[in-house]
Symmetry: D2
Subunit: 345 residues, 4 copies
Amino acid sequence: MAKKKIGIIGATGYTGSELVRILTNHPDAEISLITSESRAGELFSDVHPFLQGIADQKLVSINQIDDYELDLVFLALPHGVSMDFVKRFKDRSFKIIDLSGDFRLSSREVYEEWYKLNHVHPEGIEKAVFGSPELYFDEIKDANLIANPGCFPTSAILGLAPLLKANLIETDRIIVDSKTGVTGAGIKAKSVNLYSNVNDNFKAYGLKYHRHTIEIQGILDRVSGKETLIQFTPHLLPVDRGILTTIYARPTEKMDKTKLKELYTAFYARAPFVRLRKQEPAIKDVRGTNYCDLYVTYDKRTHMVIIVSVIDNLIKGAAGQAVQNMNIMFGLEQTSGLHLIPLNP
Amino acid sequence: MAKKKIGIIGATGYTGSELVRILTNHPDAEISLITSESRAGELFSDVHPFLQGIADQKLVSINQIDDYELDLVFLALPHGVSMDFVKRFKDRSFKIIDLSGDFRLSSREVYEEWYKLNHVHPEGIEKAVFGSPELYFDEIKDANLIANPGCFPTSAILGLAPLLKANLIETDRIIVDSKTGVTGAGIKAKSVNLYSNVNDNFKAYGLKYHRHTIEIQGILDRVSGKETLIQFTPHLLPVDRGILTTIYARPTEKMDKTKLKELYTAFYARAPFVRLRKQEPAIKDVRGTNYCDLYVTYDKRTHMVIIVSVIDNLIKGAAGQAVQNMNIMFGLEQTSGLHLIPLNP
Amino acid sequence: MAKKKIGIIGATGYTGSELVRILTNHPDAEISLITSESRAGELFSDVHPFLQGIADQKLVSINQIDDYELDLVFLALPHGVSMDFVKRFKDRSFKIIDLSGDFRLSSREVYEEWYKLNHVHPEGIEKAVFGSPELYFDEIKDANLIANPGCFPTSAILGLAPLLKANLIETDRIIVDSKTGVTGAGIKAKSVNLYSNVNDNFKAYGLKYHRHTIEIQGILDRVSGKETLIQFTPHLLPVDRGILTTIYARPTEKMDKTKLKELYTAFYARAPFVRLRKQEPAIKDVRGTNYCDLYVTYDKRTHMVIIVSVIDNLIKGAAGQAVQNMNIMFGLEQTSGLHLIPLNP
Amino acid sequence: MAKKKIGIIGATGYTGSELVRILTNHPDAEISLITSESRAGELFSDVHPFLQGIADQKLVSINQIDDYELDLVFLALPHGVSMDFVKRFKDRSFKIIDLSGDFRLSSREVYEEWYKLNHVHPEGIEKAVFGSPELYFDEIKDANLIANPGCFPTSAILGLAPLLKANLIETDRIIVDSKTGVTGAGIKAKSVNLYSNVNDNFKAYGLKYHRHTIEIQGILDRVSGKETLIQFTPHLLPVDRGILTTIYARPTEKMDKTKLKELYTAFYARAPFVRLRKQEPAIKDVRGTNYCDLYVTYDKRTHMVIIVSVIDNLIKGAAGQAVQNMNIMFGLEQTSGLHLIPLNP
């Protein structure tokens, strides 16, 4: 089979470099095009020097896209910008996987309330499939536009879906306490990701209003068929990559360890990237990979379920899950090009 | 006034070195004795070389304690060991501040259930005052034996006390999600605090069974006059010092920002080490100091209160709070010797 | 004695916040004025929130300086800017300690060659005393303008001065291999101090052309009375604070351990902040203090002397040494306000 | 071609887990056997839980080795232990790659002087080929016993070999200032790799006597055909992986940038893992890969050459170079199984 021809729109950020890192060794796909407006004419490895000798493609302006035959395009762009391109490319033959938040929410209204922006392409919201392969494999298979999930939502949703699908927890007071590495804030230098503001430090941020709150809640509404209420608090870890999410929920009925284990084992029986762990996982256990490691336990004393979920925010939380979606869209093995082994230590 | 004569029992751990660091510059106290069984005969600065030229006292065996006139003794020993010494010293004239967990719980039975140890000195449990100056100032003033609070409990209790005292939150489902620096695990090298197991990493541990759960719950029972149920989860941060605790609770009545602010301001009006912060605090904001910084907010959407509490686990969570208790016991200014300014960055 | 009245020009950087941290607890000085052009009208603790409740002075514009009676002014400004203010204040009655590089070099010509800037106040270069108390105590005592040493130069010069003064090493090929924490690059967010570019990383930079090369060489020329040739390479450590400098030099004559030890002990006999260490020092051994720790050894196999020197770049390498100079200028104890104990861990 | 059957002796350390990580995805080799004495009977992923689902082989005792047909065995054992097994296996048909220091030095006498141990198998020293593919490709091809190079030596030797081979630098005073990540000290918890002793810290260690001094010097003697004298100083970085070595040497003749560039380009023309970099490389540029990145420059002012060399100590400095040697011994492409892309950030 000929290798699929891939375009990557947006080269300077971490999502772009992770896509290139993964696709460079992908047996069934090849990078035909990488665009950048600010660095057009330079090499990809000029922007990311650690890729010297590995990814030396020349960057071109997106305006040259019609010079390329493409099977699929990844949009590695900021939200608010991405929707312009989805609109512009809506009649092209290539498939689109959008890594921004522009097409993940349930409606234009919800988007505009939480993102404080006008949405320029509401039909896209209707058409887009939420790219969580563990939940929506069949829809992804047939999709032309994927809204690739956010990093926090990926960790929270995979942790909660089995319980909510089975209607086993109260939905009005679910606590999602997340801790993320710094790369979640992007590659641009700003006070929040200044080394000395992060190193040997830790803080909560975005309390009550973080946009991923509504993304998590919207998908969990669909999974459970009910209105959920999610209390989501992100925190900033002094690490490069990784999200660990601790989830607290109250069972609606009698619960025990065995029931939990069977539920999760069955739910993820065909999910090659979800690992059910015997002990509490650490974020380095999944670093550099597309895994989501889950640990689920029940506290009899308090009658609460506690779930710990870890991912690499740049891979399962972004580029890796995007490639997984690509594989499904092309009818490839889900794991093609994603046999990544954790870099630990 | 003559300086108070202080003994420090246990020199090799972090608690011992922090006590020395603080007391060395204390205007009203002086270190008369530092004991160590394993390093007796050596200098304190042989054990902690960064104190060369600053704290060069010779370490002696605890068996020589009767050669010293002492006003107060700090026990910087592991739990299970400390109770032996409290028992042994129970008729001495000096006051005792015990930094272990041996005398913090409500009864021998509770201790033995959670610590899996026989308690050799149950009368001490009756006599000991829980050394939280913001809650028990008057009792501390008159105490001869202080059970100095644990690090996680300090951060959790100071965060919750105002709401529980005022009976403003539900008590049966309080979530206490804590994140601690590595020094909480002590100075002894083991797999859990091996550099490469911690660096660029993060994990939850001790789910459901951590001993600080019952310490928090016991004190909050007393503060609220009700039975509380605390879900406590500690996590291990890649930082040296600091605890950040995120607390989730449901108000029992209508709540708003102003009410919260007034409540906390009034409760901590005479607490020089509690700072109510305008933004979410970071652990480096209190590093090297005796402060507990609190941020309290109400989420109308979910009808939940969220509290963020940060301390330096070795200072407000151990040695600093111990010195604060000492000051109160001696009728000194609470802040004497504790005018420590955060080392940030 | 009335407390000395101090002005700090430049509040937003690390040097400014360190000066405030130190002077807040200084028994003989008080901060009368802190200026900031970009943040005038705000509180100092708005700019550095960890100082809430500790340093809440209002920031004013430097144009209001004449409203204040001042005994001494610290200039915590970038090089190139500082010289304007030294010139502007040259006839004022207050003393000046300049923390920039503008007055540290031997001549206007050398400055203009290495800094690629015109010097607007060359008389200042003539007048300024290089503020290294271990070398120039007497000159500092009488100075009105101090050029406070750079951070790398402080660590290198204190390491080499005894050997060069005694004419015991070859001067034409001295290797100074330095490793610094990130705060040396300042508080402004830029690619070089972005968390993920520094964390778990390490690199050399500024090879051959770093400006501190000529500052080191200029002072060592004076100390040795000869022309020295310094090969200086800085590296960037994933730490907040601290410089460790490893120095390699060839003895001009027979050398041994005892001779080295006696030489350094004698040279620093009256230097309260230089600690000669028995083992290789680590940067955390001096963190948060004004110490310079030195370790000196001789390798018989290679006939080379190796010196390891560590300081806290923000304290002995900037604000602390500046306060030490202030103390000397006012006839106070050198150590006044500087009884800082290392924060370790 | 049938996959080569590989045995790994020693499973609990980092070298063992890195070998497994690399060989798991190797197209031409398969792991037949992993031994461990302390953990025999458990799964490899019980020892290294991040490999759950990836490497679940059962560990067996080395005494069962005769039950396996093996083409090659990696010894991932401590020095002093390894030589026993090389001796024991000397008449087996499988090839051996020893990752310890037991067979790297020029003679039994030199080994015993620097390692303070009797060597039990001196014939092995005669037979062993030093596994540096960039220097000894042809010897490796035909070898049955490889002494895989040490981590520091790999970085130092690759940095210096072109200049020494061409006789272009003085050999009596070469400065090798190295900085390593913590994994170099092994996986066993001890004071030196305790998190809080390393984090936000930095120190020199092993001055004058580190064993890699003589390994570097021995190989450089062979490369240059002269007696060299190496001053080697290792330092401990607060990072997991990576070595950066800064080298200082004096040219024996006129030197310039172009000459240097041509020399290194020619020398490494057929070395797929040596990258000559345009700027100073950082250790994260090679993290998780088998690259050695070199930056070479000449300082006209001081007439010195400065070389910066970076590797991942666990890969090019251990397991990766070992697999590269295996590839060569089997006549495979050097890069087989080693198309690793840096994990950055």
